[in-house]
Symmetry: D2
């Protein structure tokens, strides 16, 4: 595949652009593909009542190392049981514990809001930075995303989930940093495991990379570092298949190092502002993957509610797959 | 009903105590009542694919006013679109927005962990403060809940939800502060609306109080203030019916002012450490309530994943009811 | 005095503008007026060794009520003595307490950086927003003040302090909200108490307003509310007298309600970006005021180091007056 | 020197114990040694008006790496100039920037409060954990230090500073990790540079270690890692000389690795709770050191106000040395 230069970026921008598809005031993008019947269908997939949570632990031992403001969650206590035991809560007639957290909304298992990434181009000398559906990036100021904030998704993150287990496809515990996933790979994986991609699906792509780090218990420069992931051209696959959302068990969905000298995270440049796809990162997929391999079915009820942070650029989530 | 004094507290403690029911190492309490078939059953309730989110907005305009460390979420931006537009992100080849939040885990719509509230008694002169299942409160120190942390619930908060719409039962928009809900009320409400309480249910009790405040847009001293809610004696009702969890559309589930001169939040004193019930607060129930009234069915698939904060005393959640 | 409209704003902008006075790369403004001999002189004022701290307590019971992101400091513990006593620190061979705080840098007693306030005007249709010395406001992005950050002042906030005790001048415990202080008042006050304003002085203006609130222990809408303070035209007085910095015992130095229909905080519009004066807010002045009245001398050694937050728009400080 | 075992710890505890020296209600410890005349004397040392700030920059690139809750300051913006320029502040008639920080109080250049470290011993089987002056460690709960909080020092951190430049004494840019400083070294250094230690002094001990890290710009495991510093036995030197406070240009004052198999930070075990000395860490001393070497005088006015965090276990500070 050729590198992503300016020309290729512009070509793909046109290819996958969904602006105005759901009206000029839309703030949901491809989540619009989900309809009520998809949810009914997904619910009917529940046969055994087994639940597979996908959130990684939220604490200071997380994947972040502080790059560009991304720290790990720091939770501290406002009241403790030790205080209660030593009579330090006797001023109230209650005995309890409370806590408070400081955390980036994108530090662990999370959804990116459509307001999270922008596309830039020039009209003559004038710089244009735009969001999904053509909104100006000026809508994202210090108060947050006045357009495309995460709160818009509060009732949308439920439907049919399908797993494309690329690690199992390749017969490895984990794909390697730098190892890309192409559109052809995604199609071949779906075929091999007998799952058909449908409009409105939540597509979960497993590389094994997150699970490997969890098992080893060492994060190092995982966040922002080299990783397996989607090739730039998979944007077309996602566009064509009209999927609702995509998530992976890596920190940033797309392959790293990026296939570009000019763009950092070139896939992001289009996925969010042009294609309008809601994306999830650091989804732990090993549990559901094992179950799918066991029962031979790669579809399930998927529920991953966002927290409605007003104007938020993202939200932590604990996605559940239910079979 | 008589006031809750020391004697009554001890009497009810014995009545509703579930310690060791699920083994001496249990950290889940009544969530153990849910079995896989309950989840299968709940999924089958999905007929129309309608989704009702129950989280209130997370921002600085929330219900808290700062009492005892409970502030509202304060989200700030690490990157903005305005920066991108003015060339302030040219040092990286990306254009994006990120944010960070500081928030108490119990400030908005949330679950309390079983490590959140303790029971205190004396053996001779010795003060005992204990948690669910008999663990010492010393297990909750500055690092959080080494026992009964919220992360234990990560795959448990899904099942059959039922709505007991007490406001509708009384024919009011909102019940009044100080207006109690008795066991008899709960039973009568269930009968009136044709719903049978079953083992393992998530019982949502609606007072209309949260919705009224949301509509008026003024919180004042809502948090920690007078409110309608469950009477102390409903502990027996919850115990007898073997419900999995209970949540209300108030800040603290139980009625305020409390019916006690000696205990603050007397219902809490037993609900969490003795009964071992997971409880939810500030659940917005008006949307699902309207739908239940319309279609005449007060049961639904309920999914309200907690975020797995390691040793957390609680977690924000965006509960979804699906019909 | 006439109201501050656009014309008056522009007139005073020209009157007090100090741009380029200290070179085109200057980021210190009127702090440049202080020279080494001023510090030597100020040190020699120390005769009794009495120290008067001016910082108000930093805790959740502070003056803020949450308007536009200004909350009170929220300090929580990372380790406690109660934990130590109950053996919860036995995993390390130390017994200790640590804490962490979340706080706006402008929430209590603080200095504003020169990057804190901007001046706006139009060139034709083009909006210009500029900082001290003519820097574009684009220099203040999500990373903070790339120009005129508070760290520039780290070694500058020491010199001769003088007190202009306007409350004593008027013979009141506290001046009233809305009561203005004019240039003539400042001059008359200095004369009455026998103090001569000199180039490079730190001028502390006391209204009694902060002390009154401290004594009453109720803040209400103090922050951002009506207050006594400097009239707009005092900008000329500060400019002419070449003072180094100015601080008051109010939340915002200038009188409120503002004398303008068009500008919020019109004095700020010029004081920081045009005059280039470093300003302090919520300085508790009652202690030093009492001493000055007693010994009849209104000058002292003044030391109020800022904390060098890189690119910070301000800093908390605990100013000391030493006599 | 022998290792610090239980017996040696107890021996030195008795040697340096200052409890009740200033009354049973004292919360200041050796800061009591400073009297007003010391401050007058110190002010008279100011001859040239040169100011040497000792705080290191407060930002995310600081010395911490997250161990046991110690992170670096994370400052984010609430308003920015980029917002102002793009019209995002037009809803108010002001143009400005504000910021908020989350930071451990002990993460950069800071004072430890006397409530920061405890001493532990047993009476029979009963564990005792005590603070300065014999207060129980139970006084330090989730609300902070109800005894010996940092706010007590708000007007005390000023006096005569003296520099003991051990790096220069040894003729090195920086002393080595693990290299200890003995009482004899301190005395010899004072003699060599012609400075006499007096009651009530602020003693600053320079190793060059902080400056070396600042110059190299790489912190790694600096915080909590090996470092040059004071030997355990210097407690006697500090006790005998009746110094008011001690600070170093290292993260933890005492030498690391510690000379003990049983105690982490054995010097701390006694310095704070027994000797009652206020101590400072990460003081940048290279600037003042160079000046002292140049003018041959190792004394100066020292002003390092703490911020009065109510019940705080410490405070950031920007200490100024003035000559």
């Amino acid at each position: 595949m050729s590198k992503v230069d300016k020309q290729k970026m512009e070509l793909y921008a046109e290819k996958v652009k969904n602006w105005n598809k759901w009206g000029e005031n839309d703030e949901l993008g491809t989540l619009n593909y989900i309809d009520a019947q998809d949810i009914v269908y997904a619910a009917q997939l529940v046969k055994t009542g087994k639940v597979f949570p996908m959130a990684i632990p939220l604490d200071v031992n997380g994947p972040q190392w502080g790059e560009r403001g991304r720290t790990n969650p720091h939770r501290t206590m406002v009241y403790t049981g030790t205080d209660a035991l030593l009579g330090r809560q006797d001023f109230i007639n209650m005995r309890y514990a409370d806590d408070v957290v400081t955390m980036p909304l994108q530090c662990a298992t999370h959804w990116d809001a459509l307001g999270h990434v922008f596309y830039e181009y020039y009209e003559g000398d004038e710089r244009k930075v735009i969001m999904w559906n053509g909104y100006s990036a000026a809508n994202v100021d210090s108060y947050g995303c006045h357009k495309c904030g995460i709160q818009n998704t509060r009732d949308k993150l439920i439907g049919r989930g399908i797993l494309l287990d690329m690690a199992r496809f390749h017969g490895v515990e984990s794909m390697d940093p730098g190892q890309g996933i192409t559109s052809e790979d995604l199609t071949a994986c779906a075929e091999k495991f007998g799952i058909q991609v449908k409009q409105g699906d939540f597509v979960l792509v497993r590389t094994g990379f997150l699970g490997k780090h969890m098992k080893e218990g060492v994060w190092g420069k995982y966040a922002g570092g080299d990783a397996p992931g989607l090739e730039f051209e998979t944007l077309e696959w996602l566009h064509k298949n009209e999927v609702a959302a995509v998530a992976t068990d890596t920190w940033g969905v797309e392959v790293r190092p990026n296939r570009s000298d000019e763009f950092l995270q070139p896939w992001h440049w289009l996925a969010i502002p042009m294609l309008g796809i809601t994306m999830g990162e650091n989804f732990f997929l090993d549990g559901i993957a094992e179950e799918c391999a066991k029962d031979g079915s790669y579809e399930f009820l998927f529920v991953a509610p966002s927290l409605p942070f007003t104007n938020g650029a993202g939200s932590p989530t604990n996605p559940l797959a239910v079979k």
